[in-house]
Symmetry: C2
Subunit: 347 residues, 2 copies
């Protein structure tokens, strides 16, 4: 959406400079203000064609891009302004993302429970996967075993409660003076980007290249040889570890996911709407999103299993579910490795 406002960059027109960064930031700020207006309007007439979920997604979308640009092209921007705004954008992005995260985690886990029960997926499931409806109906539990049904009910309770809290927190945030300050800042950005005096003619490429190199270095440091061997059984290796913290082996993959996003947004700034290998980057990014989602779903299943006084059948189902999601983590690493190797050859 945002890129429609961006003037396409002609590669023959000389190096891309701070001017393009200013244009990109202006368009993202405009996008933010539009989504905010949409969110407020849809709040009044609930469930309209432009619903608050879409609006919240559009808000997060522009906030992430502004935040990433402030990070990657930091030397071209007024340091006081950008150092003040960046943590505020991180707070906003994090706060707005939680509700959706809990919702999709629950959907992922309930769908997995159905798959593990050999159940035929109910018709509404596809709508749930598509994420089209804000409070999507959960799949029918009629044909689950007792353990799977109880595990599903437990996860439903816990994650719905977490989602409801995240929803309240997000609403509070959007009404807070802290948010109004951020919104004012972005409103200014929509008309006037605080570049440094020399930035207008400073080339963007070195900064974008540095972001790409940070990504390449981090991806190279991943255990890709292991990941490329199917069924290496690495992802579950601490599945019953006494350490209750999330799997430490996942962290470098999460980091690559963030660096890939920064690289992708930097390319948007440089290349406009049609960066040449965008599809490959998207595929790699999807694999890493799946990695993150499965990792967090596995942790949620493990956490639910620590609920006091649950039945053994419930705990058993949660154990199977946890291992299934760790299996998904391993599958996502394999998918990333396959896609990344191709990319390394062709670029």
């Amino acid at each position: 959406m945002a890129q429609q406002h961006l003037e396409p960059t002609d590669p023959l027109a000389g190096p891309v400079t701070g001017d393009a960064l200013a244009g990109y930031l202006r368009s993202q700020a405009t996008e933010f203000l539009r989504a905010l207006r949409q969110h407020r309007e849809s709040g009044a007439q609930a469930q309209g064609p432009e619903d608050p979920v879409d609006a919240a997604r559009a808000l997060r979308r522009s906030v992430r891009r502004i935040s990433a640009s402030l990070h990657t092209f930091r030397p071209l921007l007024d340091p006081d302004w950008s150092e003040h705004l960046r943590p505020e954008l991180a707070w906003l992005s994090g706060t707005l993302g939680m509700e959706h995260a809990y919702e999709s985690r629950l959907e992922r886990l309930l769908l997995a429970l159905h798959r593990l029960s050999g159940a035929v997926f109910p018709a509404q499931t596809s709508a749930v996967v598509g994420g089209a409806t804000p409070s999507a109906p959960t799949p029918d539990r009629g044909n689950l075993t007792v353990g799977a049904a109880k595990a599903g009910a437990l996860l439903d309770r816990q994650l719905t409660l977490a989602r409801t809290r995240a929803h309240s927190t997000a609403l509070q945030a959007l009404g807070s003076s802290r948010f109004h300050a951020v919104a004012d800042n972005i409103a200014v950005l929509a008309s006037e980007v605080p570049l440094t005096p020399t930035a207008k003619n400073t080339p963007l490429h070195p900064h974008a290249t540095a972001a790409e190199e940070r990504l390449a270095d981090a991806a190279t440091a991943l255990p890709l040889v292991t990941a490329g061997h199917p069924y290496n059984a690495e992802a579950l290796i601490h599945g019953l570890s006494p350490d209750p913290s999330p799997h430490p082996q996942d962290a470098p993959w999460h980091q690559v996911r963030l660096l890939l996003r920064l690289h992708r947004y930097a390319r948007e700034v440089l290349c406009g709407t049609n960066p040449p290998v965008e599809v490959r980057l998207l595929t790699a990014g999807q694999a890493l999103d799946r990695h993150r989602d499965a990792s967090e779903a596995a942790a949620a299943a493990a956490a639910a299993a620590r609920t006091p006084r649950i039945a053994p059948a419930t705990a058993y189902a949660l154990g199977v579910l946890h291992a299934d999601q760790r299996h998904e983590v391993e599958a996502a690493r394999f998918a990333f490795q396959q896609c990344w190797q191709k990319q390394a050859v062709s670029t």
Copy 2:
């Protein structure tokens, strides 16, 4: 071992006939009698260099080969004799195999629990894997979580009890008049094979080829395209199914395992000690053995989880363990597919 007694078959010496079958059966019968003598002697002086476990394995080994030959080359053998002996051999092979099956199942599950706990394998583990000792020490449980340790203890109790019962059953069987009748039959076989009147000059190839075709047909009917896609998540698809019976999807793979063994033994009859692609057949067979072992270990973990009054942490660990072993089932199918496709190309 057995093949050392077999005269190597010269491929230029004309078609292999019932004569070679008689030679093979005689050598296997001799092997059986030697293992039986060894078993009786080692029973007196326990844990000698030739221990009763090795002797029992050698007994099973020759029984399986005699039984397979009776099946594959049925038309060349006296029908009354072979139809009477075959079920007796099946009984003996099954009875003698149970103790070892329970023992290796327990070892597999305890090693998996250690792996899943991220524990460093204790030094004695390699001896356990090698299966060198009859009552192998189980891995140290010191660094397992409470759930994993309790799951290990539960499986240890249940499978050790089953193994002890299987041991008694096998000892009773070896002392029974039913067994003595089988042994007498095999003793006769060591000197005189009851071929049909025309069998001596009947070529073996058509029967061996039929066995190979039964294998090829059954392998072709397997879902190999799915199995060749890593992380297809098929093996766990009924992991929480209300159906308590073993996974029906495993049965065709178990069947191919048996047909592969029949084919391998038929090749031994025809080609003697050095069949050309024996290594590949062994690799495929090992993948199917692993498939069977993981399938049964997964079922044992699921069965243990149905023990009344277990702690939720125990049930959770058994759920993770079950899923891990189903993951192994899927990995074994992938390994078989990889190896089988190669074979199809090169032969």
